[in-house]
Symmetry: D2
């Protein structure tokens, strides 16, 4: 591919932790992209985009970003509760859309987005299930597709964040949708991907607050377990935790009749191993930003390449909607204490 | 301890796979023990005990073993359906008893054994939860007791047998009690041990036949998942499989507020690592006999030492009864498809 | 740092394997750099630089690159035999210089470069010992500097290339300086860095041709071992091989009185582990380009930042000269079969 | 094999650390052996053998042990300086002999033993190169013999003892023969075994005292490196250290044209892995007694089985003599600072 072709003109909405990550990616390291606009209600964030990244146009309000006629695509990294409507808005403004996960916290909102998108088949709409772009998960999927596992029938997937004693994330809990929609939605998508997208039939969930009592106010937990029963007999066991003592450890194991594949065990930060009076040890990853640095890059490369028609869409809005549907059912099961239909 | 003290005189019932293992242990490598009698309905097995191990007295019927006045203790390694009654018989004959796991397949039978044992407090009655004697599990438990994990709140435990394409185990399925009572009973006991024996409240289970259709006839499965909800918020996730492609991999992870401990990951057979055109690899364990060779030795050492009054009993009949009670509830949950009270 | 400051204007000489790598880096992913010119005797390579990277000016001859008045710095990735003279040329033309390793194949040439550079202290001259920029080696060095190893006294360092059955590298052998100057020069530099740059006193070497008989014509080998005896008692053992069957495995271990640190063991390509009938395995790295992808990026970032006065020079020409001096002595020891003074 | 056959009647000489280890092995866990006599100049050790192990006959002097007519074999675990003469004595008394390594500290003594043994071909004489009986090293050798490595051409072997701050071993240094004959003799034997017993031509050595200055008095060191050049191009690099901070780590890597095999990397004490605020870590082995517990058992089993004619001798006195010959040359090279002929 020649870079001489006109770059995809992108505007970004949201310049928080994830938004900054994507903005830097788009401004400096995404081939074929030009980050021309940014939108945030926070003046400091707009100033950062202009001064540090050199983004030409900044907006306080999302509507103004949508009204910018010089954009081909919008990347959305705002709070989850805004995702669905902003995605619809961008689609209706004729833009390609990249939206952070999850697409929405309820199934109805997902369906509204799907309805709009279905009428605009030439616009790309992609949700940020970043693990699908991590080289290790890509390799695992390739191993499965190559038949190295025989028939895969069980996924064990974990999203494990290092404990933040300050409990910073507690203040986002009321709008996050709860641990299963905020964290496990990645594992749900991963399980579906690895297993070939079987239909989820029933779910079970349990969990508790182990350290962060502040979560009780919004009915959330800091450690949760869930099981998904898929049609055809496959199963997924999910574990989400915000209290790991040693680092960020996101892992996934797929078990098949002829082999199994594990990704991420050990959470190695680098290739260093120390030996001293305390034994043999290695450092661990700090957070998902560090773990998925390369995946974030590939993800944005893939979005841009899809918009430019160079590759087919790597995942669909229907995938995102299904992940929400299962996540919602798991959250319901957590509350009812019973097995729930999806 | 001097070995000059009179050895514990032991008779063994059952000379199948596990029985042979225990008999060899007692005959050759257990300090302070003398294997003086063996009982099996199979003539070849009795001949083996006499010829190979030099066991002086062999019996065809269990009653005759019990009638042997020259024995202090009985080791029971017969089919599971016989465990409870033979344990009661041995206790009533005034003998110490070691019985393979599980103690029984139903709660009522466990309670009958407990009732008899409670009247004979000076006789040792120990069930073979061999993992409690494995140096690695012992170390993990010591780490927990030393506070290295903070407060443990989640156990993930797996019993994974290498697939036997011949399906040999299928013929034992009708009397094994099903995969959860046959395999996961170890994980149940381990979870209780690691977590400090909290009370189990509810269980969930699911599973399926992945390879061995012959199990359908007796309602059994070859891959099963279960979750135990304990009082106080702790949880255990169990996975039992008879279809691992690569070897025997029995693992356990305990997650606490300050640390986590993992046992058995990787199923290394030895200390050898090979590098060749296929990458970097190591061999895996073949079966639990190989995995727990050292534990079987320590287990029998502990039983003998307990009978001789040298150490306190390392686990109780009540532990064994509780493991059965939970295993029965899990089996019920598998069938009902619902969360079940324990 | 603001990117608003004028970028460093760079020209690159040599567009072979390493040159292409550096050119892409400079064109697309090095903050603060502008790749404005490229020089290669090969027309296809010049066309690639223009068409694919959009480099504005291309030259067939190095003198023309030096004559380009619009350049602040030159990056040299030509054959080793040209390094010294081209570095001198660039310095005398008033440019900063980045030169691939080794600086030269003989000590006299290194000294000529040092003499020129010493008269131009405001120009940066940096040799590409890329391992100094790899996050894992950087962490190991930081561990040493933090005292975690106590006093380091032994380095074991390996450069291991996967066997190329085609023996492609054999044709470069006549001008590479031999395996110790071509490969081990990295390990020599690493050992000096980790040990705090002690003076090398004596060396021993041995080696042989294991697979690539074509090397005999120029006195080279495909597997070599060397030991460096440093003043003060520290030692380094180097192993260079071109015949690894499983992949590229570059490793380094530093042993101290209070701890040891290992880098790179296992040559993991990613975070995936497979289990199947052949055991437990992982894929390995293919080559040093894959292994040091991130380091090449950091290296060029550091060169640019040094030229722009933002950071002090991370390593000196004297380091490069010393690596050559030791490498030459090792090569001499290989031939003499005796311990040689450095 | 039936155990009904008459057991091999064994007497042991030396009841220090290794002697006790062997005596317990022979008394309690070696099938087909009866430990009937023990010899030590230390009254406490004799009392231990009688009281704890129940050894019937104890002697203060070696001559008395040799005069005991009721013995078939002698196991020698005395100080190294006595090995050769005591082995000769036992052979001349008509006994089979197991002797701890090394057979002797000089080549002449080895040759005297060989001369005596050659006249008594029906008596077993075996030197305790225990690593040949370790399951992992046995597996590695089997992999080589099966051709999995192609042609092996390089061995890297390490004997690494955990640092003993008390320097207890320093007092044995004057009679140990130095670090290469005391420690590396194992690695020498291992290298020869793995490489198919090629002839050693030349050696290089270097080393220093890193922590234990007391070794200077007898010309010994606590960290030593050596290289052996074998006929045909194979090489071995040996590292012996008494100052490892983290535990006992004995490792060996064999590199071939089609694969490599590593044994012992990581020095795992058990199957436990801990994760906490310090990262991911595992415990390490304390000493060679712990590392080779199983090998010591197999070694004595093999000696007894050889004496009873059940298996061919697993290694020869000539192997032991060759290991000493190479170890002596290495020690000479350490002192001369030059490459030495073997």
């Amino acid at each position: 591919m020649s870079t001489a072709a006109a770059p995809l003109r992108i505007g970004i909405a949201g310049l928080g932790r994830m938004g900054k990550r994507h903005a830097e990616q788009l401004a400096r390291r995404t081939r074929g992209a030009a980050l021309l606009a940014a939108c945030s209600p926070v003046a400091d964030e707009r100033a950062w985009a202009q001064g540090e990244l050199g983004v030409p146009r900044v907006y306080e309000r999302y509507e103004d970003l949508l009204a910018d006629a010089g954009l081909d695509a919008i990347a959305i990294a705002t709070p989850t509760t805004l995702h669905a409507d902003q995605t619809i808005g961008a689609l209706e403004a004729g833009r390609h859309v990249f939206c952070e996960k999850p697409l929405a916290l309820d199934v109805a909102a997902c369906e509204r987005v799907l309805a709009v998108a279905s009428k605009r088949p030439r616009q790309v709409a992609m949700v940020g299930f970043v693990r699908r772009f991590d080289p290790s998960f890509v390799q695992a999927k390739a191993d499965i597709d190559a038949g190295r596992l025989g028939r895969p029938f069980l996924v064990r997937s974990q999203t494990g964040d290092m404990n933040d004693p300050s409990g910073f994330f507690v203040k986002f809990a009321p709008t996050s949708g709860g641990i299963f929609l905020d964290c496990s939605v990645h594992d749900i998508d991963l399980a579906r991907w690895m297993l070939g997208s079987p239909r989820a039939l029933r779910v079970y969930a349990t969990g508790s607050i182990v350290l962060h009592e502040g979560l009780a106010a919004c009915g959330d937990i800091d450690n949760g377990l869930a099981v998904i029963e898929f049609e055809g007999g496959a199963r997924a066991v999910l574990y989400a935790t915000r209290t790991l003592p040693h680092g960020h450890e996101t892992t996934c194991e797929v078990i098949g009749t002829a082999g199994t594949v594990q990704v991420g065990m050990g959470a190695h930060r680098d290739r260093v191993q120390l030996r001293d009076a305390q034994g043999v040890h290695h450092r661990t990853l700090v957070d998902f930003i560090e773990r998925f640095a390369e995946a974030f890059q590939h993800e944005m490369d893939a979005f841009v390449a899809t918009c430019r028609g160079e590759i087919p869409a790597p995942l669909t809005l229907a995938d995102a909607a299904e992940a929400t549907r299962i996540g919602v059912a798991i959250t319901r099961a957590l509350r009812s204490g019973q097995v729930e239909a999806v």
